[in-house]
Structures are given as structure tokens and as C-alpha cells.
């Protein structure tokens, strides 16, 4: 049992805004009160108390990330090192940290829950093995569905109901939590070296299936199955100049269905080519503000080295041709693909400068912090361990202006950031890093400090240097255990994995089995991930 006393508590989900009050913990949960001789008290005077951070969109485990690790050992040579000790496993940080280091680095920011945003069913077993080796954080997975050809084949035949059962079956087979749609139709087109850039045009290889049809039918399926997290959507035309039209068209196609728009920064550009690229964040934010069915994460970029990892294969081929750097590509049979290209965002490059501004503009212009969350699409826009730099930029307009002054002149005409004075409050930060993403993920036990919530609590020094403050929590409690104390990781605990079991017609297996045996290369029995692979699975029944 534990009492945190004297700290200023920011718990926006329960409308607590910086009041000095006690937080009591027992049995891994927040409770009303604790009494007795064995209650440990943490004096939090001078500190702020937040619910543990929740990352709604990150890439920390699985085949694609491990592919990137193999491709970029040079990014780890000079990265942070983690030396083994009686408590800690060894590892490296850098752009694609090893699994144990990932857990330590997230805990070192005060984060306690992460959502791995792109998992193919075929290699989901691998993802879960890695998540098992990622300590200190609770985990969930979004499963890649929008280029699954067995599902698209059913949409082609107009068999939407059966497609829904198949989607639900796959989600359970992968032991996933949510449904991910990446460049709907475009990744399957990439299997023939093509893309799907226009929402209303048929996907290569199909006559009736268009990206728009995939988006609208899949979002409807997710709603009908009553999944806790809406469809997690990576729009078509990522990164391309002028893609704002596609993004807004996508939001219209959703027609009121719930969706989470991933890494919106990469989808808010105007212009016709790289020379005329400009920020369209104002137009996007204005439209987004009117769509209550949508949430989004920023996918902000920061200048420096990164490695881009996405299921968007055609985009990665283009990026390889643009940069001339290494290119990894891994197409996954019948389901999805993945591309890996190392990338360096340069403050002197006009395009990168616009991208940097767009990420911040979206966070500042979307007026409801409950619907836009802090991410960098780790490791695409920047590594997650650089989040405190973004928090500093959001909370301090003067610092932002200093940074804008360093941008190339020709970028300044193409962005809106210099005219924005808004500064985030601590309460708003608590929303975009914890309360908001927990709500979007549909995890009622996360992102707040009300009675019954998981005792994931972080204590930061109230420091005017917000980057230092959010980069060095004094204490972190995970499920009631004190894991970070005086800035050091002191204790190792394993995280849980959240999964959903949607209802589906059992006969769907009879439909699937012969197709699977024809098109896949493993036995059907070996395809679903066994429960034993997961550590601390927390199953939610749906639909």
C-alpha cells in the first residue's frame, strides 16, 4: 500500500487540474484511502503527478522493426547503452532499440502503455515474442487488415458480412487488440509494383474494390464488432505533396464511422511537387475539428536521424529512389508488406522544415486535445525517447520562435507556425500523452487516477525546462510497484498484453481453411498464435 502526498495532481479525465491531493494505491489499483502501519508514503512536494503515459501509435516489436535492426547497426554503435545488472538486461537504444531497452526507455519517460501499430497475422507470433521481452509497459497490437486479399476478395464479391467474420477471426488469430488499415489497397497493388492513389479507382487486380470501399466497409465492421479501439487508419498517399485532398476525402468516406487517423503530419501537405510543397494544417485542422467521429495522432518529426518503417511499400520504394540510401522491403503473403529506409531530417532542408512545422501546427490547431495525441510514429518521424523535446516546443512559444528563426527562409512562406501563439498547459499535456490516447484505445483502466484505475502513476519535478522535466521522471509506478525511484530504474516488472476476442461465426473456418491451404505456405493449425505465447494476457470479449 502506498500514498503519494503533497504533489500537484493532473488527472484531466477526472477534471483534476493541478490540485494538491493524495493519491492512494493498493493491490495495483488506485483506491480511495489507505491506512495502517505498512503504508509507504512518497513525499511529492514540488512534483506534479500524472497518470502513466500511453503511446497510441508506435513501432517497437515484430518482423518489420527487427528487419530495421538488421539493416541499421550503424545507428546503434553510438546509441545509449544499457549495461546488465542484477535487475536489468543489457541492450542498446538508438533509432530501433532492443526490446528490453525499449521498456526501460519508455519507463524513463513515464510511459506505461504502448500500442504496437502494425502487426501482420502471419508473423504475429514473432511480435508477441518480442512484446514478452519488453518489460515495464503494458502492450496492445493493431493487426494489418486493409490489404488482406482474402478479405478484399470477399468485398469484391459483395460478401461484406462474411468479410466481417473473417476480419474478426483474423484479429483473434493474431491475438490483436485493434484493426489497422495501411494505404488501403495500395500495399496489395505494390505486390505488382503499383500503388492505389485515387480513392475512387479500383485497386489493381480488382474491379469493384476501391480504397474508398475498403475504408468505409472496414470502419463499419470495426464499429459493428464493437471493438474498443476504432479502425486505426494510415491514409493513402502518405508523404506526397498535395495529399491533403486524399486525407479530407478519406475523412468524408468514413461517413460518421469511428476512426483513428494515424500520424496525421504525413498527410497534410499542399503543393504539386517537392518544390511547391506547403503546409495544409489549417485546412486539415478546420475540417477535422468538425468530425467528432475521429481521433488522430500527430506523427511529428524532429530533425536528426531516423529510420522509416511502414507497411506502405510503394512509398518506401519512392523514398529509396529519392534518397539513394538503403532500402528494405518485405512483402507478406496475402496480407501486407513493409518497407524500411533510413532517413535524416535536416533543419536546412525546406521539405523537412515544413514537415517539422506541420506536426506542431496540427497539435496546436486541432482545438480539442482529447482528439489529437503526441506521437512521432516512432521511429519514423523521430524516436519516442525524444517526446520531451516536442512537449517543450508545445509549452513554450518563445522557444518555438527561436527554433523557427533557424528554418530556411523559403520554408517560412509555406507554414503557419509563426502565427500561432498557443501554449499547452500541463493539463493539456496530460491529455495528449495519457488521458486522450487511453480513451481512444478504449482502455478505461488507463490514463487516469480515479478509483479503480491501474496504479500507473508518474511523478515529475515541476521544472521550467519542460524537456528536462518530462525526460527525467523522479518516480514511476507501474501497477502499484515503484519501478523508477529518484530517476533510476530500480525494479523490473512484466507488462500485460491487452487483446480482444470479437464474436464471429465459427463456420468461417470451414470457408477459410481451403483458401488458406491454397494460398499460404504453412499449415492452417500453425497460423493462429497460441495463448501460451502471451504473457499476462488481458482478454476483452466484444460484439
Amino acid at each position: 500500500m502506498l500514498r503519494i502526498t503533497g504533489g500537484r495532481v493532473y488527472d484531466p479525465a477526472n477534471e483534476v487540474d493541478g490540485e494538491v491531493r493524495d493519491v492512494c494505491i493498493s493491490g495495483g489499483r488506485i483506491v480511495e484511502e489507505v491506512t495502517g502501519a505498512d503504508v509507504r508514503t512518497i513525499d511529492a512536494a514540488g512534483m506534479v503527478v500524472f497518470p502513466g503515459g500511453v503511446d497510441v501509435h508506435t513501432h517497437v516489436a515484430g518482423g518489420a522493426l527487427n528487419f530495421a535492426r538488421a539493416m541499421t547497426p550503424e545507428n546503434h554503435r553510438n546509441a545509449a547503452k544499457f549495461t546488465h545488472s542484477p535487475e536489468l538486461r543489457a541492450g542498446v537504444g538508438g533509432t530501433t532499440p532492443s526490446t528490453f531497452a525499449t521498456g526501460y526507455l519508455y519507463a524513463g519517460l513515464g510511459y506505461t502503455t504502448v500500442n504496437e501499430a502494425a502487426v501482420p497475422v502471419l508473423s504475429a507470433r514473432h511480435t508477441h515474442e518480442e512484446l514478452r521481452d519488453t518489460p515495464l509497459v503494458d502492450k496492445s497490437c493493431c493487426v494489418l487488415m486493409a490489404n488482406n486479399e482474402l478479405i478484399l476478395d470477399l468485398l469484391e464479391e459483395g460478401e461484406t458480412e462474411r468479410a466481417k467474420h473473417l476480419l474478426a477471426w483474423h484479429l483473434w488469430a493474431a491475438k490483436g487488440y485493434g484493426v489497422k488499415a495501411v494505404n488501403p489497397g495500395g500495399v496489395t497493388a505494390w505486390k505488382w509494383g503499383k500503388d492505389a492513389k485515387i480513392l475512387s479507382e479500383p485497386v489493381p487486380g480488382y474491379s469493384k474494390v476501391t480504397p474508398a470501399k475498403i475504408i468505409s466497409s472496414m470502419a463499419a465492421m470495426v464499429d459493428e464488432l464493437e471493438l474498443p479501439h476504432p479502425m486505426h487508419l494510415h491514409c493513402n498517399n502518405l508523404g506526397a505533396p498535395g495529399n491533403i485532398d486524399t486525407t479530407i476525402e478519406t475523412m468524408k468516406v468514413l461517413d460518421g464511422h469511428r476512426a483513428h487517423m494515424a500520424h496525421l503530419q504525413f498527410h497534410s501537405y499542399g503543393g504539386d511537387d517537392w518544390d511547391t510543397l506547403r503546409s495544409e494544417s489549417v485546412r486539415l485542422a478546420e475540417f477535422f475539428n468538425e468530425q467528432p467521429n475521429l481521433t488522430a495522432d500527430a506523427g511529428a518529426i524532429l530533425f536528426g536521424d531516423s529510420v522509416t518503417i511502414t507497411a506502405d511499400g510503394p512509398w518506401q520504394h519512392l523514398l529509396y529512389q529519392l534518397t539513394g540510401r538503403k532500402w528494405g522491403n518485405l512483402d507478406v503473403e496475402n496480407e501486407t508488406g513493409c518497407g524500411v529506409v533510413p532517413y535524416t531530417y535536416k533543419g536546412t532542408n525546406m521539405v523537412n522544415a515544413v514537415q517539422w512545422a506541420v506536426g506542431l501546427e496540427l497539435l496546436l490547431l486541432i482545438n480539442d486535445p482529447w482528439r489529437i495525441y503526441l506521437t512521432t510514429d516512432h521511429p519514423n518521424g523521430a524516436c519516442f525517447w525524444r517526446y520531451p523535446e516536442i512537449i517543450h516546443l508545445l509549452m513554450n512559444a518563445d522557444f518555438r520562435r527561436e527554433c523557427i528563426e533557424k528554418l530556411p527562409d523559403k520554408a517560412l512562406k509555406r507554414i503557419h507556425l509563426p502565427g500561432i501563439d498557443r501554449e499547452y498547459t500541463l493539463s493539456e499535456i496530460a491529455i495528449i500523452i495519457s488521458a486522450g490516447p487511453a480513451r481512444a484505445l478504449g482502455m478505461p483502466q488507463k490514463g487516469h487516477l480515479g478509483v479503480g484505475a491501474d496504479a500507473d502513476v508518474v511523478l515529475y519535478n515541476d521544472d521550467s525546462d519542460r524537456e528536462r522535466m518530462f525526460g527525467h521522471p523522479r518516480y514511476l509506478l507501474k501497477g502499484g510497484e515503484v519501478v523508477v525511484e529518484e530517476g533510476d530504474i530500480r525494479k523490473m516488472v512484466d507488462g500485460r498484453e491487452f487483446i480482444v476476442r470479437p464474436s464471429y461465426d465459427d463456420n468461417i473456418e470451414e470457408y477459410l481453411r481451403p483458401l488458406f491451404e491454397q494460398y499460404y505456405t504453412m499449415s492452417f493449425e500453425n497460423y493462429p498464435v497460441e495463448m501460451e505465447r502471451l504473457e499476462g494476457a488481458d482478454i476483452r470479449e466484444c460484439g
Binding site: A61, G63, N66, F67, R69, A70, M71, P73, H76, R77, N78, A79, A80, K81, F82, T83, H84, S85, P86, R89, A90, G91, V92, G94, T96, P97, S98, T99, A101, L122, S123, R125, H126, E129, E130, D133, K191, W192, G193, H317, Y320, Q321, K326, W327, G328, N329, L330, D331, E333, N334, G337, V340, V341, D488, Q518, Y519, Y520, T521, M522, N526
Partner: protein, 318 residues
């Protein structure tokens, strides 16, 4: 330059109409490759099966795989790099010197025909074996092959895949990457992972005699490594975990017999395309599994006083 453009084996089965094997003999070394994944199966987009696919074998000699090939390109030993470089030039319509091409054992016409076929493929795949990656040029050969395939994607869909084998070598590579950040050649001697092939790779460590004990799991280095490495294994305490007597177990100080994974022990094997497959035991074994033995050794190690460097906090960037 670098990276790898690849896919899972089902993509090859469902789509590939042009298949190259280079420096490998799958008929003997990967006997199910043709029938399960590449040549024979009727794929979703290759309903004709074998008739819908063209197979080219590039090798220094006519191996048993040659009878499965539509075209055999016999390269002079040690000239693979030159052939690939010529192909890369032809792909981009660059001029090449026919006399230099002749040194490779192939003619310019043969190579131009090869390039035309690659470019006209709907979905091409290059599988390469140790005849390419472990002969003169070594990793430079692999890099050239990977670059050729990446560049072909400007014209059509093309992928590549190394023909890995030797038990669960892919699995070892995959797990090393997620636990240490690096695929192989990792030293933990400072308490954190460092990667330097040539310095920390197994053969180099053994040949220099850097280590004073060796634990061998699921491998038989005594059969495949250079003699100085084997001599060092024999000279120092070597512990082998293996279901069978092997070259290495004969020279080891300790051989612990373990259950055979996949037959009497469960586990996971990663296929050459990095897809994990569960192994389900069908027989019982009186012997412990590798995992149990390693755990028991670890328990004993933990009883010793912990070795930790002076400061086990995060080491700042170099």
C-alpha cells in the same frame, strides 16, 4: 547501397513467374523448396504452376538442380561479382566491354537475354546460396546481388532471398537482433552489446584464442570451422548441448545429451523468410531440453557473486 528487397515464400508461390537460383543447389540442400514454394505449386496468380514459371540456374557447375532449370548459366568460378556488375550495367542500358564479359564464361548475348527476361518478368525472384555469398568476393557478391534486385524494381517487381539453412540459424539471428540490437558477432564483455563482425564473430574469437570457454548449442563447429578454431575448442573447456554425438562433442570436455527440438522438445523455428513456425513434439524423450539445461546452468551462475561493472547505469553516448 544496402538493404534487402524480399518477401515471404507464399508471395513467390502466388506470383513469381521468373525464378533465379544463384550459387545454390536446392535440389539437394533444400529439397522441398521447388515443390512447396517456388516451381511446382499452382499459385493464386500462377494457376498453371510449373508451366507458368521460368527458372534460371546460375552456378559454376551442372548440379542436380540443373535438370529443373529452363536455362543454365554456367559462370567461371570466382566471376560472380563481374557477372552481377555487368547485369546491373545492362539493366540501366550502360555500355559494357564484350571481351571482359567473355572472361566470366558467359557471352554478352546470354547476359542481355537474361536482363530482358528479368525486366519482362511480372514478378521475379533471386534466391542466392553460399556459392555466391561464401566464394571470392563474399559479402560484396551478396551486396551486388541485393543491389541488382533493388534496381530492377524501377522496371518491374523483383525480390531476393538468401537460401539460409543449418537448423534454426534464422531464428538465432532474429532473437539476437531483438535482445541485443544486432544480428550476430556481438560481444557482451563490457556488459552491453557491441557489434563488430570480424572481431566478435565466432570464428575470429576462436582463431585468436580470445575466449577461455565455449558453450555450443545447436551447432557443430568442429565439422565446419577452420582448423585453428577447432584447435582452440579442443584446447579449452568446451561444453556441447546436442542430442547426438557430433564432431564437436567428440572434442568437448562436456557433452550434455538433450532432447531433439521438434521431435521431443517444443520450440519455434524461423523459416528463411523469417516467418516463425511452432514446433510440436511427437515423442517423449528421457533427456532434458536445451532450454531446461541452459536454465539450470543459469541458476548455478546466479549463485555466484554478481559481476557488474563499477557503474551499471546508462553509459552516455560515445
Amino acid at each position: 547501397m544496402g538493404g534487402k528487397v524480399t518477401c515471404t515464400l507464399g508471395e513467390v508461390k502466388n506470383r513469381a513467374d521468373f525464378i533465379i537460383y544463384w550459387g545454390g543447389n536446392p535440389a539437394d540442400c533444400h529439397p522441398l523448396h521447388f515443390s512447396r514454394y517456388t516451381l511446382i505449386p499452382k499459385g493464386k496468380h500462377v494457376p498453371e504452376g510449373r508451366k507458368g514459371r521460368t527458372m534460371v540456374l546460375v552456378d559454376v557447375r551442372e548440379t542436380p538442380s540443373a535438370k529443373h532449370a529452363d536455362i543454365l548459366l554456367q559462370v567461371k568460378p570466382g566471376k560472380d561479382f563481374e557477372v552481377i556488375t555487368t547485369l546491373r550495367a545492362l539493366v540501366k542500358n550502360q555500355p559494357v566491354d564484350a571481351a571482359r564479359v567473355a572472361e566470366t564464361g558467359l557471352t554478352l548475348e546470354q547476359l542481355q537475354d537474361f536482363v530482358d527476361r528479368m525486366k519482362n518478368a511480372r514478378f521475379g525472384v533471386l534466391f542466392f546460396g553460399m556459392g555466391l555469398s561464401m566464394t571470392r568476393g563474399k559479402h560484396m557478391n551478396s551486396a551486388a546481388a541485393l543491389a541488382l534486385v533493388a534496381e530492377l524494381n524501377a522496371y518491374t517487381k523483383f525480390v531476393s532471398m538468401p537460401m539460409r539453412g543449418h537448423g534454426n540459424v534464422t531464428g538465432a539471428d532474429v532473437v539476437m537482433r531483438w535482445t541485443t540490437g544486432f544480428p550476430f558477432g556481438v560481444s557482451m564483455s563490457r556488459g552491453y552489446p557491441r557489434f563488430n563482425p570480424g572481431e566478435f564473430s565466432t570464428i575470429d574469437v576462436l582463431v585468436r584464442g580470445d575466449n577461455d570457454a565455449t558453450l555450443v548449442l545447436g551447432a557443430d563447429p568442429g565439422a565446419t570451422m577452420p582448423q585453428p578454431a577447432i584447435d582452440h575448442l579442443a584446447r579449452t573447456p568446451t561444453i556441447v548441448l546436442d542430442p547426438k554425438v557430433t564432431h564437436t562433442s567428440r572434442l568437448a570436455r562436456v557433452h550434455i545429451t538433450t532432447a531433439t527440438t521438434g521431435i521431443s522438445a517444443p520450440g519455434t523455428v524461423y523459416r528463411m523468410d523469417e516467418i516463425p513456425l511452432p514446433l510440436k513434439p511427437i515423442l517423449e524423450s528421457p533427456y532434458p531440453t536445451d532450454e531446461e539445461v541452459v536454465h539450470r546452468i543459469l541458476e548455478k551462475v546466479k549463485e555466484k557473486p554478481a559481476w557488474t561493472p563499477a557503474s551499471y547505469k546508462e553509459v552516455p553516448c560515445a
